[in-house]
Symmetry: C2
Subunit: 213 residues, 2 copies
């Protein structure tokens, strides 16, 4: 079958899993795959202003569930991923990216001066508030990539905005790490009893959401 | 080869394509695939507060290029996708989603009153500014999904934040449509001459961006 067909089949198969099978854990290989998918995600300028926390500690997940309107997935999914953004975007981040670019590509840092100027101008032109929004959007690219990659690999997921961000930040000690929680994604294997698994997907028709000009 | 391996290979294969092969167009099947991928994207509450414009008109693309720092991809890629958000989020959007949910699932609208209350509370609790940011984040989920699906299907892409949003909105008449441009994605086939295609990917090591707790 053509790969495009396989991907669309996977996107139709996926749904925001409400009930995970608590007896089934993702394999180490599956978890590594999800981590690498996140690591490879695109971001504007390649800035990667993020960190992805995979929470497995059951006591911690019990506490976090109380900060997420008691939603069962937070505790019962195989893994809870907390997608975080950096608290701030500074010239140190520019230096880090330039250094990494030089290392990866072999280009001397001097030859990257033009790119560095663009990055520096971008960062210094952002207010703290705009920087936060910008970083969060980048995190959402990673989320979108994760959902599609997971679906294609037969891994269930539930993206979740419904949680107390300050509560998560506090429980996870994110301030000290220079991070802030942005969005959650629980991953694992759906329960056979999850009635939402067989509910028809609700999407507007193509004519409503796509226009060719 | 395991599917997880294929996906990671695709994510390593993709890059922000700077130079497209102007002699190669995506097939109708490939374009339909990209449209359907966007249509099926996840969004919070399933709200789908977006529209995706596929721009093929060459005169229009020439004009849009002048609003995108003259970047060649805007004109030369097989297709230019302008990912847009709704200008506003209102009770009419809640009604539309409830109606679509009822149609798709067969659940009477009455039985969706609880869901409707949640949606209505969410929408009425958002300031215009917060609604805009929220809608844009949803669009970024679709972007992330698009990039990963395209890569896995061997389609090149370049996501682009570098353009004048008001300029695009004006040229495309988006105000009249109740839309605003958010981010671009040019898609097509990479040129053999694009030196960025073989440049090493710059990603921070796993230990920098992933933590297991």
């Amino acid at each position: 079958m053509a790969e495009t067909h396989e991907i669309l089949k996977a996107l139709n198969w996926r749904y925001a899993t409400k009930q995970f099978d608590t007896s089934k854990k993702l394999s180490d290989g599956q978890v590594s795959f999800l981590k690498e998918t996140l690591r490879l995600s695109a971001s504007s300028f390649g800035f990667q202003p993020w960190k992805f926390l995979f929470i497995t500690d059951s006591e911690l997940r019990k506490r976090l569930r109380t900060k997420a309107f008691n939603q069962t997935q937070v505790e019962e999914a195989s893994h809870l991923i907390v997608l975080c953004r950096q608290e701030k975007l500074t010239s140190a981040d520019v230096d880090k990216l330039i250094s990494a670019t030089s290392s990866a590509t072999g280009a001397p840092e001097d030859s990257l001066a033009g790119f560095k100027n663009v990055l520096s101008g971008f960062v210094s032109g952002l207010s703290q508030e705009k920087a936060e929004v910008w970083c969060e959007k980048q995190v959402y690219i990673a989320l979108g990539s994760l959902l599609t990659a997971a679906a294609r690999a037969g891994i269930d997921a539930c993206p979740m905005e419904g949680f107390e961000r300050p509560g998560f930040d506090e429980v996870l000690g994110l301030e000290k790490k220079g991070l802030r929680s942005v969005v959650l994604c629980t991953v694992g294997i759906r329960s056979e009893g999850d009635k939402y698994a067989t509910r028809a997907k609700v999407r507007y028709p193509l004519a409503d959401v796509v226009e060719t000009i």
